[in-house]
Structures are given as structure tokens and as C-alpha cells.
Amino acid sequence: MTTIRVNGVDHAVDVDPRTSLLDLLRERLDLKGTKKGCDHGQCGACTVLVNGVRINACLSLAVMHDGDEVLTVEGLASGEVLHPVQQAFLTEDAFQCGYCTPGQICSAVGLLAEVAAGQPSEATADLDGPVTLTDAEIRERMSGNICRCSAYPQILAAVRRAAGAAA
């Protein structure tokens, strides 16, 4: 039996070891917000936060997450009040078809925490200095999330807006 807390709710599930965290969320817990794109860690549509850290839910087994706390796109809003990143995506019109959007949003939530923790990226010029969230930094840090509609300029703007709101 695997015990897992998803969006604040505890679940005890008996799963085939082959079940990915993504399939557990979608098929067993009926949380269809998290999307399956490539299923190979190449597109980012399945991005969720596990213990506050963003990962690809497709490249993880449900049984690896016994005792973990998972946050999906369904768990971001407080009642009717959207998470600042969700609101920023709406304000900036940062999607077309919307399929990659839950992953983009969860990824951006993780990004803001990583920047607050001072974690560098490939776009960080000075590894010894503080991290400044330039556009180049946002692009690099969001590169694990592909958007086939190519809403990248609006996604960039949304993350920039959310970062300003979070600052």
C-alpha cells in the first residue's frame, strides 16, 4: 500500500509498481489537470510539485512516493482565488490550446521557489552572485516545458508578472 498526500488529501492506494505518478493522479485519483504529453520526460506537460519541488510525474513511479506530498494544478487555487501564477497566465493570455498549461503553471510555481532559494541556472552569469530573474533566466528555467502552440512570449510575460507579484 502506498500512502500519498495529494493537494492536502491523504490517499492509500494499492498500485501495480509499473504505475507512474502521472497515471496514479489521472487514472486512480481522477485528477486530470496534470497532462500526459510525451510520457518520456521531454515535454513537461506532466510537471507537478513533490514536496515543493517540480518534477516530471511521467518519469516517476507511484510506489516511489510513499509518504510524499504532491501538489498538482488542482491544488494551487485557494477556493475561488487563483494562485498568482494562474492569474498571471490568464492576464497575459499565456496559452492557446491549453494542454501544456497545467505543466507550465506548476513549473513556474517551482521556478519561483528555486529563484527565491538562490538556485542558479545555465543562464546565470555569475555563479557566485545572487540570481536576478532576467528574461533569459526565465526562458532557460522554463525550457523543460514545451508549448506546441508556441505561446512562449506570453508565457514569458506571465512568469515575469508572477515573479513581480511574488517579489
Binding site: 501495480d16 509498481p17 509499473r18 507512474s20 510520457d39 518520456h40 520526460g41 513537461g44 510537471t47 519541488v53 517540480r54 518534477i55 516530471n56 518519469l59 516517476s60 513511479l61 510506489v63 516511489m64 510513499d66 513549473s107 517551482g110 521556478l111 528555486e114 532559494a117 538562490g118 538556485q119 542558479p120 541556472s121 545555465e122 546565470t124 555563479l127 557566485d128 526562458r139 532557460e140 528555467r141 525550457s143 523543460g144 516545458n145
Partner: protein
């Protein structure tokens, strides 16, 4: 994905005894490579031994002034560590050039070393591949891969290691510490952890099936500037066509062999006063492969060496 037994190791000894008693079993840490390969049925282990929660994620100072990085430290943890950023920036940069943040948040140092090639013909179960199916032939030899080995390949296999991290580790003379079920501890240089393909390309490393990487130890960094460069088909989130790590007077090349490739001829030439271009050429004179690819690696290495010497890219 083929069915398999899943077991979470309680401690290192438990993991090792499970491995010793289960033929074909594989250790599972972050899972970002092996689960991908299991979905493609390229890897079909009968048992996964989950070592992901073992207490092997610490990064600590060594008595000699280096760093000991636990095998389960995530790529993100290593690249974010202030000591790594300050003293081994080429390592931090190499890690940050690999995969996406999501992958680096999960991928471990030990898993990175154990990851398999991303040769497109190894990844395509419908194609002959001596590494995947011994004796079936090599599709890459006459194929379209942009990452054929330039060094140390054989008639059987021209696949390269896809690890960016290990290229920097090799430049720093890092050592992987391993343990087996009988308690024996080995210290293996990262540079030669991976075998060259020879007649048995299906065997990636010298590690025994019951051998677990505990940590990677970095000696103190050599004096001099450090540079990391990676050439790839797009600006982010894809594997290297070639890479280079320079640490003082040491040079390692990436994506050019089945292991991170220390450019010893280049290092010797530099010691003899050669120019960066001459020194890069000294290594590539021993390369076997298309001239266009050799030229790319030669120019990349020369540029990185020049940057390390002069503090600026050309």
C-alpha cells in the same frame, strides 16, 4: 513496460543483499533514465531496488580540501551548492547544461554516472544495436546519428556517453566510491568508470551487478580558470553534440566516446607550450570519424582552452 518486482531498500546492506540475490535487478534512484528505458522495453529488469531514500545525499568537505558528493545528491543540489559553485564552477555549469530543471531535481549523481547512451539506434528497439542486443549489429555506424564516437570506438559500437556532468568530473580527477554485497569498497576514477565498447558494448561499466555507487569524491580543484562549453542542436534541454570542460591545465571532452574523454595529448601539448589550436589538434589527430565532426570538436576545445587562458571567448 514489462512487469517487475519493486522493493525499497531499508539501508545500504539491504540494497546490496537484494542486488546480490536477484539476477538482473537494477538500482532505482531518481529513475529519470531507467524508467524511460523501461517504458521503451529497452531495459527489462525483473526487479527494481529503490535506493532513493538511503542517506547518501550529503555533500561534505574532505580532509584533503576537496568535496565528497553523496551518490543520491540531486543534480540540482550539486549545481546549487555554494562550494561547488565557487570551487568547481565547471562542474556546476556542466550539470546545469543537462536536461531540464524537472529532470535535474530528480536525477542523482550516481544515476547520472549509470545512465545509458542516448544513441538513437540504442533508443529504437526496432533497429539492430550491439549494445542493446549483442550480435545484432550496429545501425549507427552507417546511420544518421550526430554523436558518433571519435575516440575509443570499436567495430561493434560507436555510441557515446551522454553525461555532461561526468565530463567535468573527469577533468577534476573525481573518483567514484562503490561498495559490494561482500562489503568490499572500491575507488574508481570517473574517467575510466565506463568501459570502451571493444567486443562487449552491452557492458557499460566495470561495476558488478551488486555494486552500488556511494559517493563521488572531488580532489581540490587545480589552479587556473575553469571553462565549460557545450554544443547542441538547440539552446537548451537537449544532449550534447560535443562538450568540453577545462580545469586549469586539464581538458576533458564530452559526447565523443563511451566515457568522458580526457584529452591527454592536448594536455601534454599545452605543457610543451603549444597554442590552444595546436593543443586541440594534438588530440583530434588521434580521432577516428567524419572530418566535420572532428573539426567541430577541435574548434570547441581550442576555444575553451583559449577562454581558460585569457578569460574571454573568441
Amino acid at each position: 513496460m514489462k512487469p517487475f518486482a519493486f522493493e525499497r531498500a531499508r539501508d545500504v546492506d539491504h540494497a546490496l543483499s537484494l542486488a546480490a540475490s536477484s539476477p538482473g535487478a537494477r538500482f532505482l534512484a531518481g529513475g529519470t533514465n531507467i524508467l524511460d528505458l523501461m517504458k521503451l522495453e529497452i531495459e527489462q529488469p525483473p526487479r527494481l531496488i529503490d535506493v532513493g531514500r538511503l542517506p547518501l545525499a550529503e555533500i561534505s568537505e574532505t580532509a584533503s580540501g576537496g568535496l565528497r558528493i553523496g551518490a543520491l545528491a540531486t543534480n540540482t543540489a550539486v549545481a546549487s551548492d555554494p562550494r561547488v559553485r565557487r570551487r568547481y564552477p565547471a562542474l556546476a555549469r556542466a550539470i546545469l547544461a543537462g536536461g531540464s530543471v524537472q529532470l535535474r531535481n530528480k536525477a542523482s549523481v550516481g544515476g547520472n554516472l549509470m545512465q545509458r547512451t542516448r544513441c538513437p539506434y540504442f533508443m529504437d528497439a526496432a533497429k539492430p544495436c550491439n549494445k542493446r542486443l549483442p550480435g545484432s549489429g550496429c545501425s549507427a555506424m552507417e546511420g544518421l546519428s550526430s554523436t558518433l564516437a571519435l575516440f575509443g570506438a570499436s567495430e561493434m559500437c560507436v555510441a557515446v556517453s551522454p553525461s555532461d556532468m561526468s565530463v567535468a568530473l573527469a577533468a577534476f580527477d573525481a573518483v567514484a566510491e562503490t561498495v559490494r554485497a561482500d562489503g568490499s569498497v572500491q575507488r574508481r576514477p570517473v574517467e575510466t568508470l565506463h568501459r570502451l565498447p571493444g567486443e562487449a558494448p552491452q557492458v557499460d561499466t566495470d561495476l558488478a551487478p551488486d555494486e552500488l555507487i556511494l559517493a563521488v569524491e572531488l580532489p581540490p580543484p587545480p589552479p587556473g580558470r575553469q571553462v565549460w562549453r557545450k554544443v547542441r542542436a538547440r539552446a537548451s534541454y537537449t544532449g550534447a553534440i560535443a562538450s568540453v570542460a577545462v580545469a586549469g591545465d586539464r581538458v576533458a571532452l564530452g559526447a565523443v566516446a563511451a566515457r568522458p574523454w580526457r584529452a591527454r595529448f592536448t594536455e601534454a601539448a599545452l605543457a610543451d607550450g603549444a597554442s590552444p589550436a595546436e593543443a586541440a589538434g594534438a588530440e583530434l589527430a588521434h580521432a577516428d570519424g567524419p572530418e566535420s565532426r572532428k573539426s567541430l570538436v577541435r574548434r570547441l576545445a581550442a576555444d575553451a582552452i583559449r577562454e581558460a587562458k585569457e578569460g574571454a571567448a573568441s
